[in-house]
Symmetry: C2
Subunit: 547 residues, 2 copies
């Protein structure tokens, strides 16, 4: 960076400093104040039979913020929430920042022990619990060292089983709908805390800033084409990287959000048709669910639905079916550490001349940086030098910019290891193409090394999902006395299809990949998945070891 020149003496700086008229610290909470002023009468949130206009949503958030304040919640206090994608978790995304507090959305599919760890580690002062999550919350609260104040959110159709001392609606009723909240004095102030579902060791608490979330929201809005007419369906959990910042991005654009308690294909199709949904996000498992929905659950719609997916590359089979159904898919790549999406595989001029298969291949790449991310590179993890853009040389994906986390909470060692060298190190191994797109070859730990040759589990999975009976495929390394490791394939089959034999699958692969890459073992059955739909390869690795 250049030497600072803003000592105030230069004519271009003298008397031209920041002041309230021209400088407001960035905060995603400001998007709601803006939308309430600009789109007050418009429906902001649809949640089952409930509808909140922007004016009503803003009033509800101000009520909650003032009620939390009245209970002593102030700057940098933690407010945790355990809830599916309902209106209340959206409200928490505004009300908590309006107090200057830190929102900690918890993964509802985790075990009580991990939830308890997060509550203690994050020093949660308040916990909001949806009725559906009451048993999990109750179990977790028996394990915590310090019990937070608990506010219960009523779940429709569930008996009123209270975990805590307050009901959400009563708290809201106490609050001031005109609460004069104030944004942070410093936009670097911490905004959110997200625990990564680490596969080993304790979860790490990723910390976001007001500035980063504001910019990520705008970056997503531009990349995904969110406009006031957009209707966004919640098929990605909001506890996952704050739903990739869409609770703020949709409001920044003045669009409408449709909540969804449980991600099921029938409900997805019905809501798309009923509300003319224009956008949704989800892990490939959500796309797979949509693509494989039984015909009687499909409700036809005439418009195009933009669908962003990330977490793993969508297979060509899924992409084809999604396009046939009327979805326009964009593949994103990112991490909790970079506020969700960091890159996207956007259409390029030369795609028009490609075959459909080749285009799906390009779409499945991780692509290039969002406009609000400063840069992405594939680099040698030792020297930090970028690898050549030759589509062949393997390196680690690294990202830099305002949408990279502040660091891990109370974990300086992990923060340093991840951010110290000027880039966020993703741990993902990739090549860099001439057109700038990065393409993951594997997670460092997912690469299979057989007889000294690297085998990409992703390549094998893409081939396996082309088999007509296969719905999902996961390939992991299996220890082998001769080769060191060999690939072991786990396959989840489409319902109602005839189960192929191991030998059929192996023969199918042999026709399509180099011989040394062909899986040596094949296992059929449902695959273990994380709460966000990622396949839990560490579970499969254990299984493969004991085969």
């Amino acid at each position: 960076m250049m030497d600072p020149v803003n000592d105030g003496s230069h004519p271009f700086e003298a008397g031209l400093g920041r002041r309230p008229a021209n400088y407001v610290p960035l905060s995603p909470a400001s998007f709601l104040a803006g939308a309430a002023a600009s789109h007050g009468a418009k429906v902001a949130v649809i949640d089952g039979p409930r509808r909140h206009t922007y004016a009503a949503l803003y009033a509800r958030c101000r009520r909650l913020a003032s009620a939390l304040r009245a209970r002593g919640v102030g700057p940098l206090d933690t407010v945790a929430i355990l809830a599916p994608n309902i209106a209340e978790i959206l409200e928490a995304h505004y009300a908590v920042p309006m107090c200057g507090a830190v929102l900690n959305p918890l993964n509802t599919r985790l075990d009580a022990g991990t939830i308890a760890f997060s509550l203690d580690h994050g020093r949660a002062k308040v916990l909001l619990v949806d009725g559906e999550c009451a048993p999990l919350a109750r179990a977790a609260l028996q394990l915590v060292r310090s019990r937070p104040l608990v506010i219960d959110i009523a779940a429709p159709g569930l008996a009123d089983i209270r975990v805590g001392e307050h009901a959400y609606d009563a708290v809201l009723a106490e609050g001031d709908p005109d609460f004069a909240w104030e944004g942070p004095a410093d936009e670097w102030q911490s905004l959110c805390l997200l625990y990564t579902s680490g596969t080993t060791g304790d979860p790490k608490g990723v910390v976001y800033s007001h500035r980063g979330a504001y910019l990520q929201a705008l970056g997503n809005a531009v990349t995904f084409g969110l406009v006031p007419e957009s209707v966004y369906l919640w098929t990605l959990p909001m506890f996952h990287c704050n739903g990739w910042s869409y609770p703020w991005a949709v409001v920044a654009a003045g669009g409408t959000q449709v909540c969804l308690r449980k991600v099921e294909p029938a409900a997805i199709f019905q809501l798309i048709a009923e509300h003319r949904v224009t956008h949704l996000c989800g892990a490939p498992i959500v796309l797979s669910m949509i693509a494989h929905a039984p015909p009687e659950q499909r409700v036809p719609f005439a418009h195009t639905v933009r669908c962003a997916t990330g977490g793993a590359a969508p297979s060509s089979t899924i992409l084809r079916t999604m396009e046939e159904l009327g979805f326009k898919v964009t593949h994103l790549y990112g991490a909790t550490e970079c506020y969700g999406p960091g890159t996207a595989s956007l259409p390029r001029p030369d795609w028009a001349a490609l075959s459909t298969e080749a285009r799906y291949d390009r779409m499945a790449r991780q692509g290039t940086a969002l406009t609000t991310l400063d840069a992405v590179m594939v680099a040698d993890p030792g020297t930090m030098r970028p690898v050549p853009q030759d589509g062949e040389t393997l390196g680690e994906i690294m990202m830099r910019g305002n949408t990279v986390m502040k660091g891990y909470l109370a974990n300086p060692q992990a923060t340093e290891a991840t951010l110290a060298e000027g880039w966020y190190r993703s741990g993902d191994l990739a090549v860099w193409h001439a057109d700038g797109a990065v393409e993951i070859k594997d997670r460092s730990k997912d690469i299979i090394i057989s007889g000294g040759e690297n085998i990409s589990s992703l390549e094998l999975e893409e081939v396996l999902t082309r088999h007509p009976a296969v719905m999902l495929a996961a390939v992991v390394a299996r220890p082998d006395p001769i080769w060191g490791e060999t690939p072991c394939a786990f396959l989840e089959l489409k319902p109602g299809t005839a189960v192929p034999t191991d030998q059929e699958v192996i023969a199918f692969c042999r026709e399509r990949v180099a011989r040394f890459k062909v899986p040596k073992a094949v296992v059929f059955g449902p695959l273990p998945k994380t709460s966000t739909g990622k396949i839990q390869k560490f579970v499969l690795r254990e299984q493969a070891r004991s085969l």
Copy 2:
């Protein structure tokens, strides 16, 4: 604002400070680096027969930046440019910030004296001059106290008349296409200098920051729906508020920009059809030009072109014709002091139930704040208290946020008068509607006070343009011994229509407005306009005085 909490001791801040991996000062120049990495092979700029891909555009800008650096241009030095909407002025919007220097786009339609004043006042170190502007530049340079280094841009078809000592292409050829430019260390650093074409006194130099321009670009992209597929036609001068930040907004979205030396309806229609233009901006005079284009100049196009207009409210006649031609018009409102657009009249749910006329009426309002502006209000200029949102009480439009200027260069008095009270004071008189939309009733100085009653010149102009023979209308106050002031109407008629009599026009008004508002005098003829198409009411006021 809250008390700062970032002393670094709180666990949510300890070890979680800004560092190169997660903090990059905002600068619009970064959008080009990003687009070159993400969309390198895509056409970024079309200028007549010339095409530059993003990779080529970035290389050209880096060449220019390095060549300017080699000539001693550094942080906060001023680089002025006198050019129409050609590729080179777009390049200057990136190359100059890449040097840390300040870009000063000059209005090509001003007189030599004003240009000379700006060059001296802004301390221009370099002046880029397009061949078309050579005579103006030469005349201005004879008046300056300190002559800048002059770089000539060749204009096609014009004899090679050099004003200065260097040719743009030669300078580019010397430059380094891989120049390792650095963004500002402080995003508040000054980026651009825009002289307002004040109607009295010396022009004031509005100063923009890197931060403000970055955010305004994203705000415009979201508001106007810019996406990678967007094709933007340059019908708004880039010297006017940096073309409302679109040189950066289109690149932030990864779209394509189509340059246009001279704004003429035939060229506009032809380029829309040829390049499938999706977006354009312009003063109402541009819309008027499009709407009244002779049939033989109209080239049909099947898609919808989004068209943003500001500077004055579009009349219902213009809106109707534009919609019939396939344009979707958005009315914006702003000022040089707020980076161009500050508010927009976006469609609202209740518009669907309105008659076409009523909808045009709503569209012509100034609307609500862009998502990146913190707030707009209509307030009592004395007490700074917001007026009620009753659509009746008159107040002054005020805006606050990161997209408000740093201030006026070397003019602390004007800066204080405009920004001191926490808001940018626009000087525009408006009412505030219940739905949040502001509606200008008049510039403070444009209101007509007749017999103690306020008469809105805007209301009369809207009525007058409904007359079938009228193309443009301007109403100003004329001194009157009895009433104080009376309205005087100046009318520019449609070509080829029969000239109505004064009495016909007066009768037309009498049927449509209160009697005291009816113009007492009517003058026919072409209206005097500023370089950006705004009608020069101060000229008409002089004329009215001597009637």
